[in-house]
Symmetry: C2
Subunit: 319 residues, 2 copies
């Protein structure tokens, strides 16, 4: 089979602002990538039709399957975008594409499905544990901290992988001492604090405001002040601890011995400033599991378009 005759998978990673389309080969390499703005199209169908119409007929005929990721919860093969009016329904899209097998994933599920296929240059370590490439491969968890907190787990299933989504951002935020408990009560009056109350863009700003006694500022502004502002440094230190604690908890919740893989806007800003040892101390401080957690990898995903890689590799029924 030559490169021009091989089967292609139509993939798209749909966020609140942009929809990134591409044609993926089985090895995950993408061609004919295009970025369409969500605001330019009333429906996902319209954006999809626009992308497909730009392809030549021979290329279109090589599309053998389709997989889409969207920033929203998936229910019964349908996903509604959290931050845009689009809805993606797998059976409807399959019809539009002439009946090719089609699957829809939550965007973090797509990231999780990429984890087993990341190369050495796609990941940077947090702490001293090298990435473990187990045979047979182990579960891995993706942890995204950006506007919100999200996570999904890659789980071996049959000959391939499946991805378990989550709403981990709404789990209880664990306080380790009375000062932390006081902070949480202040950040979430009248209800239990959740991970997202601290581990998110606005959460970092709220944490800084509480520590400084001032107004919330953007997470990037906190990170930019670290050299000059002890409160910003303290914010990053507490963020390191809570992020380590939450990532370690998610490893335990899903037995993800293959490691925790962090990404997202807050992680990108935090990573260059972070205290690896504060992160790892909290990641490993898990009672009888301390020794085992001491051998579990944690790192940051540095590769772009990792969701498209996951979609290229995702299980699609009928393929």
């Amino acid at each position: 089979m030559t490169a021009t005759s091989g089967a292609l998978r139509l993939v798209a990673d749909v966020g609140g602002t942009n929809a990134r389309f591409a044609l993926a080969r089985p090895d995950g390499r993408c061609e004919t990538a295009a970025n369409l703005r969500v605001a330019d199209f009333p429906e996902f169908d319209d954006a999809l039709a626009t992308y497909v119409q730009r392809l030549d007929r021979q290329t279109r005929e090589r599309i053998a399957s389709a997989a889409f990721a969207a920033a929203g919860p998936v229910e019964h093969d349908v996903v509604r975008l959290t931050n845009a009016p689009w809805q993606l329904a797998a059976p409807h899209i399959a019809d539009q594409l002439g009946g090719v097998p089609t699957a829809i994933f939550n965007d973090l599920q797509a990231v999780a499905l990429a984890l087993p296929f990341l190369g050495h240059s796609d990941v940077a370590e947090i702490g001293p544990v090298p990435r473990y490439e187990a045979e047979p491969p182990d579960r891995m968890v993706a942890v995204n901290v950006g506007t919100g907190f999200g996570a999904a787990t890659a789980i071996p299933a049959g000959d391939g992988w499946t991805a378990c989504p989550s709403e981990a951002g709404h789990m209880s935020l664990p306080a380790a001492n009375a000062e932390e408990a006081e902070l949480l009560a202040a950040l979430s009056p009248g209800r239990a604090a959740t991970l997202e109350d601290v581990l998110s863009g606005s959460g970092v700003g709220a944490l800084y405001a509480w520590l400084s006694g001032g107004e919330p500022i953007a997470a990037d502004a906190v990170f930019a002040r670290v050299d000059a502002d002890p409160t910003a440094r303290r914010t990053v230190e507490m963020l390191s601890r809570w992020l380590g604690r939450a990532s370690g908890d998610l490893v335990l919740a899903t037995a993800a011995w293959g490691g925790a893989f962090l990404l997202g806007g807050v992680v990108s800003g935090w990573y260059n400033l972070c205290n690896d040892s504060a992160f790892r101390a909290a990641f490993e401080d898990k009672g009888k599991m301390r020794a085992r957690m001491g051998g579990v990898f944690s790192g940051v995903v540095t590769r772009q378009d990792v969701a498209l890689l996951g979609l290229a590799k995702a299980p699609v029924a009928g393929v």
Copy 2:
């Protein structure tokens, strides 16, 4: 195919004290069950051989697959019992059984694999939410509180189900206020508190001791005192809250919208005394997910031998 000629699966649920063997039909019904004492056999092989030798030849020839659950972590198709010197290795056992496809699971994974097949009389509700039988079916989480705290998730995969194990008992125990944070610091000096520090047999006793200022007693003794002892009542109340909080967190960690299914010795003792509304309030108090959690089922598994049902239905490669 008649009942006597059908294929059977050899199943065994191996704990630290007892190994329960049976022959399971595809619908999950078991026959020829036997309970062997772990202490009576130097190796699992010996117990297995003893059970198989008791079967008549025609029955032995109907064994088409085997699935075992053991109380310990599974690594590379091998599980070492946590509380006994036995080791179970799937390839070795398959040889012993004449080459039939064989799989090994952690005991909680086996319980999780049974959840989709539990009938109405096998489960009792905690709180007002009826059990939801979704089509297509949703993820579900099994939560076991006994000697320790364990959990596993049932996840749809392909045409069947897979089970994601966990070490959830070692996740951070979330304090919701300064009093709880003080308690946790007392229960786990020098390290972060874990779920098992409260949510386990010895944890309940330690919680009672801290509240009463006395010595730890057994969880059953705490439950037996509830009518006469306000401290025992308070212990059960706090247990209800933490168990609800932890079960809700595990639902969120794995998007287990199909519900949380509790079982184990501590759950059995607690369930008759518990305050449903305290459990549910903590289960649902999850920030932006409060409304959604308000519709998620929680309940107690009342059926015995649920692990054997899970093994009867478990995916076994080659079957």
